[in-house]
């Protein structure tokens, strides 16, 4: 039915066939004669957000489909299916009587308009549940659980989402009297009063469900469902709540009750919501609150990073020859590194082309490369490169291929709801084919992650995988242990650590469970065999221990999100293994024990992140449904929590909106939904993508050279210990910079003078007869050493002049004077140390004293080109007009001399020796003139010593000069 297409047809994981069967079953059991209209079985949630322009009256009357289709697809037939326990709760609403009353007439969707609402008007607010058939249910609670169907989900198995409160928990608040249900049973038109009451209770149920949050249901999913009710109220009106006004009223009230949660959504969502006229019509206070929340929303969006391949830097310490067993291994790896990046570029260029296939395009080459690595035994090197490159490219949110049109993230928000035309155009630009992924997308490898995943699949190399597993485990555990002291300074670091850990965990999970992946759910027998078999070997990573320790030490905000990623990669059998079952149970219990808002505003975002990622895990196909009812480990977690340390990451407000959205891109569905509403989108792909840029800046504490005076160091450490960590980083940072500037300053001033002075000494001494060069060298070095000492003094002065001021500016004004003074002096000392260590390493041993030569002379190659041309004319053949005058030749010779005079350009002594050997320079002349040679200009030298008759230039000389130049260069 058309109605159906407006909502997600079915829970995410339910392929069309199984679902239709179940639905059929459902309606049949209820004795419903009409056949469910099975449209868009495989449709994804996209439809949830596409308001239907027209609805066929016939299909609109499709019996039994109302509930699932109409209500934005939130409720679904699977409620009945395998879980009899909860089936009856849905049924009450499905009597279909409303329809027979004719209230549910289908109308074309009209654009939202401002209406004058008369709450007493039965047309506007028809009674809910009027003329219903006798209800079965006694509880008025219902849950709405949309999950997207996604055709491209390889792991999906027929499975419905979990939808209900564990029976042991009080799902319906005591405030809802049984009479609520009883009233509905009356089957007669309710009074308006009753109607309002009912709606009030309905949303109250929702609100309580949300806030109690003791149900392992994706809260986010419920919320999105709610929004879709709200947005699609027009379409849904007949389906459930009677009419558009009831729908909106219901949604708005729930939003009001859940305002805290809503207020933590991104600014753009808030804006879209607050500008939605329906909100204003039904609740001006909600509108005001939203507007206010929007102002308070401080999430900053950082500029997106450039999107070219960031390579892993070559580090001599780990990458040079000494790290390889043989020359061959070294050179093989050198080649393989480039080959790997070649694949990466090829993939970037072509993977989006239709018909491109990783295996077909790169398969054999990838395997060839891997086999060469095997032959050379370089897998550990490659695994490290692979892992680093993975982190480099994939840590942040995926923005592959969209860098050029990356919009200002708040552009949409700035435009607001009124700029419809512009928004539509913008949408055209921003919309991606799979723009809408639904609130619970299956695990995926977005962006460049796909390359790495395909590479591993294609390479299918056990050596590589083993090395990778080793490396990933090691780094994950290292990241998990990272110490983060306070929220102010460490938020970014936390974000970076968390994102990295999630990425690595996903790949560790991928590699670990890759051998067991099957496309189909194995039969029960195979399952049992596999469970017995696999229970014997130890898992790649003891996630249970890591989890327990994280609860105990209150570090779940870091550990849980990455363990969720790891476990999301489980194969079909994996969750059935006792070990992973335990891990999943632990997560479930952690979730159940968590109450949103319990920790106060401080950690609300932390909790929101945990709720979102856990809710997601529980909704993906791999999660075994029966676990929801398990109370295993309940006591254990309780105990663990009771004996926790008082301090831990969980008590620090580390998660901000940006991190939340980066980890849970599906939260963006809210905004897309609202934006689609604003745009009145009819586009199938409809939906707007907002880029969330990662906070990836990692402050690296510069290493400072440590003083030998251990006591001083110890005192220093003690000083920093009780100060905020930013102080230490500021000091180290300033010291490093001031030290470096000092070096630059000395290079630019003192060193230059030294060089000039040294060179003068050299020149003067060479002018004296019988100079002992060794002695000369020594004396120059001695001079340099003196000057070096002078440089050290200069450095000390420079640092003590500059460092304190810099520190003072960077530290908070409120810093106490003594702390400030200490920080200043430490900075000065560190800076001085740095500068002096450079000076002593470079000045005294410097062999790179530059000669005092401005080099403003013809280049060797120029002179050589000229000479060659002269020679070619001289040797012939030549034309009549090609001739050189004596003047030209002399001018050339002059330039030759100039060039030679600039000793930078040619090896002066070598050239002279060569010329003497060839008999072109008289040895005696050179001998007598030798001490003066360096002082003379070359033209003079040539004229004095060159053995040729004046005016006659022999080719020999020039030829020889050229040849000599060849060798001396």
């Amino acid at each position: 039915s058309q109605t159906l297409t407006h909502g997600p047809t079915t829970p995410a994981k339910t392929p069309s066939t199984s679902r239709s069967v179940r639905t059929q079953d459902f309606s049949d059991r209820r004795g419903n004669k009409s056949t469910p209209i099975q449209t868009s079985r495989s449709a994804s949630r996209v439809q949830l957000f596409s308001p239907a322009p027209s609805v066929s009256p016939v299909s609109g009357r499709g019996e039994g489909r109302r509930r699932s289709g109409g209500f934005g697809g939130c409720a679904s037939g699977r409620q009945t299916g395998p879980r009899g326990a909860v089936s009856e709760e849905g049924v009450r609403w499905d009597g279909g009587g409303r329809r027979s009353r004719g209230v549910g007439r289908i109308e074309p969707v009209s654009p939202p308009t401002q209406v004058q609402l008369n709450f007493n008007n039965l047309e506007d607010f028809p009674p809910v549940g009027a003329a219903q058939s006798p209800p079965v249910a006694t509880k008025p609670s219902r849950r709405i659980n949309p999950t997207p169907v996604s055709a491209e989900r390889p792991n999906s198995k027929p499975k419905s989402c979990f939808i209900s409160t564990p029976l042991s928990l009080p799902a319906s608040p005591p405030a809802i009297p049984e009479s609520a249900g009883a009233k509905l049973t009356a089957g007669s038109p309710h009074s308006l009063q009753e109607e309002r009451e009912l709606l009030r209770k309905e949303r109250y149920v929702w609100a309580v469900i949300f806030s109690l949050n003791n149900i392992p249901v994706s809260m986010m999913m419920n919320l999105i469902c709610l929004l879709s009710i709200y947005v699609h109220a027009d379409v849904l009106e007949k389906a459930y709540l009677g009419n558009v006004h009831n729908c909106v009223y219901f949604s708005v009230r729930v939003l009001e009750n859940q305002f805290e949660l809503v207020s933590h959504l991104d600014k753009c969502t808030l804006r879209l919501l607050s500008e939605n006229e329906r909100v204003g019509t039904f609740s001006s206070s909600l509108k005001d609150h939203l507007a206010q929340a929007q102002e308070n929303c401080t999430a900053k969006v950082l500029p997106s990073p450039p999107m070219f391949v960031h390579s892993v830097p070559f580090q001599p310490a780990t990458d040079n020859r000494s790290n390889f067993s043989s020359d061959r291994a070294f050179h093989t790896f050198k080649k393989q590194r480039d080959v790997f990046y070649g694949f990466l570029r090829e993939w970037e260029d072509s993977h989006k082309e239709p018909g491109w296939d990783f295996e077909a395009a790169l398969g054999s080459r990838v395997r060839m490369m891997v086999s060469q690595l095997t032959a050379a035994g370089s897998h550990s090197h490659f695994a490290r490169l692979f892992q680093k490159q993975l982190i480099q490219m994939c840590k942040g949110p995926c923005v592959l291929g969209s860098s050029s049109d990356a919009p200002d993230a708040d552009l949409l928000g700035m435009l607001g709801a009124d700029s419809l035309g512009r928004l539509k155009r913008l949408q055209q630009r921003l919309v991606q084919p799979q723009g809408l992924i639904g609130p619970c997308p299956p695990p995926s490898f977005p962006g460049h992650q796909e390359f790495f995943k395909c590479f591993l699949q294609t390479a299918s190399c056990c050596q590589l995988n083993q090395h990778l597993k080793d490396g990933l485990c090691q780094q994950l555990l290292k990241l998990d242990e990272v110490s983060i002291l306070g929220p102010d300074d460490e938020k970014q670091r936390f974000s970076s650590v968390l994102l990295t850990a999630r990425l690595l965990a996903k790949f560790l999970g991928f590699i670990s469970f890759l051998p067991y992946q099957t496309s189909e759910l194995p039969s029960r027998d195979i399952q049992d065999t596999a469970i017995t078999l696999r229970s014997k070997s130890s898992p790649v990573l003891d996630v249970c221990a890591v989890l327990r320790s994280s609860v105990h030490r209150r570090r779940t905000i870091l550990t849980v999100p990455w363990i969720v990623e790891f476990l999301s990669m489980l194969d079909h059998i994996g969750p059935l293994l006792p070990f992973y079952r335990t891990a999943l149970c632990l997560l479930l219990q952690i979730y159940k024990r968590m109450l949103l808002g319990r920790g106060g505003e401080l950690c609300y975002m932390n909790q929101l992140l945990m709720v979102a990622v856990l809710g997601w895990l529980f909704q993906i196909p791999i999660f075994p449904e029966d676990l929801f009812f398990s109370t295993d480990l309940k006591e254990e977690v309780k105990e663990l929590e009771n004996i926790t340390s008082s301090q831990g990451l969980d008590t620090l407000p580390l998660v901000d909106q940006q991190l939340l959205y980066t980890c849970c891109p599906y939260l963006g569905e809210f905004r897309k939904l609202l934006a689609a509403f604003v745009a009145g989108s009819t586009s199938k792909s409809g939906g707007l993508i907002r880029k969330i840029t990662p906070t990836s800046a990692e402050l690296r504490g510069p290493s400072t050279s440590r003083s030998q005076q251990k006591l001083q160091v110890d005192l220093e450490q003690a000083f920093f210990h009780n100060q905020p960590p930013s102080l230490r980083r500021t000091v180290e940072f300033v010291a490093e910079r001031v030290g470096s500037n000092c070096v630059k300053h000395i290079k630019a001033t003192l060193v230059l003078e030294l060089v000039k002075g040294g060179e003068k000494t050299l020149r003067d001494s060479l002018g004296l007869e019988g100079v002992n060069t060794a002695k000369l060298n020594d004396s120059i070095c001695a001079q340099l050493c003196d000057a070096g000492m002078q440089a050290l003094e200069t450095a000390t002065r420079f640092c003590s002049e500059n460092a304190p001021g810099a520190v003072r500016v960077l530290l908070p004004l409120e810093t106490s004077p003594s702390v400030l003074t200490t920080a200043e002096s430490i900075t000065t000392r560190l800076a001085t140390e740095k500068a002096c260590s450079w000076l002593s390493a470079n000045i005294t041993s410097s062999g790179q004293v530059q000669k005092n030569c401005t080099h403003k002379v013809p280049l060797g190659s120029e002179v050589m080109i000229e000479i060659k041309e002269v020679l070619s004319v001289a040797v012939g053949p030549r034309s009549e007009e090609e001739a050189y005058t004596v003047h030209q030749i002399e001018s050339l010779l002059y330039r030759v001399g100039q060039t030679l005079g600039c000793r930078k350009k040619t090896d002066y002594l070598f050239l002279i020796r060569q010329l003497i050997e060839r008999g072109l320079l008289g040895e005696e002349e050179v001998g007598t003139n030798w001490p003066k040679l360096s002082a003379l200009s070359w033209p003079e030298v040539i004229s004095k010593t060159l053995r040729f008759e004046a005016g006659i230039l022999t080719n020999h000389f020039l030829m020889a000069f050229l040849v000599c130049s060849c060798r001396s260069l």
């Binding site: 450039p306 830097p313 040079n320 590194r337 280049l859 050589m864 000229e866 040797v875 020999h956 050229l962």
Partner: protein, 304 residues
């Protein structure tokens, strides 16, 4: 001579000429060079045709095109019977008119580079004299470099004529090219020092055990035209399709893979269409960039 000096103005870095050569123009130059011989006259012909391009650029393009041409016909000229025939022809001509530029003429007739022909002929000459033993490379190279080492003085003269007149091949050209390469690396270092940009050069990198070494690695990356630059490679030649793709595969991508984005300076220009990997980390320039942005400039300036 003035011509040569003019052309080197850009080399010395005093005047930065913009060498913009689009692919269409490059093809036009290529077509013109198809029939040209590697002589100074040919270079002048090119200059009159493309006066807006620096002579050094034209020479570089011509030289590369000519080398491609020679490589194509290499097999033809190196067949033993062909070589023998060339030598016999030279020998017989040398008897009748020794004063004529015999080898140059022969080279023109068979469309072979004079210097390459000279090499073949001297090789034959040495084989003839030493009968059994193949002439050692070293001896051969020395004779080409200093023709007067050749015992046959007439041959020496003809060989010299070839090596001095060939502007694309021969020991003198090799020597000049080598010098030009070094000079530009030098120039690059000078420019960096002038800008106070600290760097590691090839030798320092090699001593640290780097497996691939660009000419320069900047210790502090800079930005050129909005692109980050970690390394700089100096190429004292014109960047045409063939050489650029070879360099990409053998050098530039490797540098990128290890050191991040960088800059290639083709001092004699390049086909402008080749500068298409900027977003991938390879930026092309035809001279030392004047629009360098360094780390501390931005905020420091705005504060002032």
């Amino acid at each position: 001579m003035d011509r040569v000096r003019d052309s080197s103005a850009s080399v010395a870095g005093e005047a930065v000429e913009l060498v913009r050569v689009c692919r269409a123009e490059y093809r036009a130059i290529g077509r013109l060079t198809e029939r040209l011989r590697p002589t100074r006259q040919s270079i002048r012909t090119l200059q009159t045709q493309f006066p807006h391009l620096p002579p050094s650029t034209l020479l570089s393009i011509f030289s590369q095109e000519y080398q491609k041409r020679m490589k194509r016909s290499m097999v033809r000229h190196h067949a033993p019977d062909v070589v023998k025939e060339y030598y016999q022809r030279y020998r017989s001509e040398a008897k009748t008119r020794p004063a004529a530029p015999l080898l140059l003429e022969l080279a023109n007739q068979v469309d072979l580079s004079p210097a390459l022909l000279a090499r073949l002929i001297v090789e034959c000459f040495l084989e003839e004299r030493q009968a059994s033993v193949a002439a050692s490379r070293h001896v051969l190279n020395n004779m080409l470099r200093e023709p007067y080492l050749i015992p046959d003085l007439l041959l020496a003269k003809h060989v010299e004529q070839c090596t001095v007149n060939d502007c694309c091949y021969g020991p003198l050209v090799d020597c000049i090219k080598h010098a030009i390469g070094l000079e530009h690396e030098d120039l690059l270092r000078d420019k960096l020092r002038e800008r106070n940009l600290s760097f590691l050069d090839e030798n320092q990198l090699r001593s640290k055990g780097y497996d691939k070494t660009p000419d320069i690695i900047l210790e502090v990356p800079i930005a050129v035209d909005g692109h980050i630059v970690h390394w700089i490679e100096s190429k004292a030649s014109f960047g045409d399709d063939h050489s650029h793709h070879t360099y990409l595969n053998e050098q530039f991508w490797s540098y990128c893979n290890r050191f991040g984005p960088g800059l290639v300076i083709y001092w004699y220009g390049f086909i402008s269409e080749l500068d298409c990997q900027r977003d991938r980390g390879i930026l092309l320039r035809d001279g030392f960039p004047s629009d360098i942005v360094t780390l501390c400039q931005g905020p420091a300036r705005s504060r002032v």
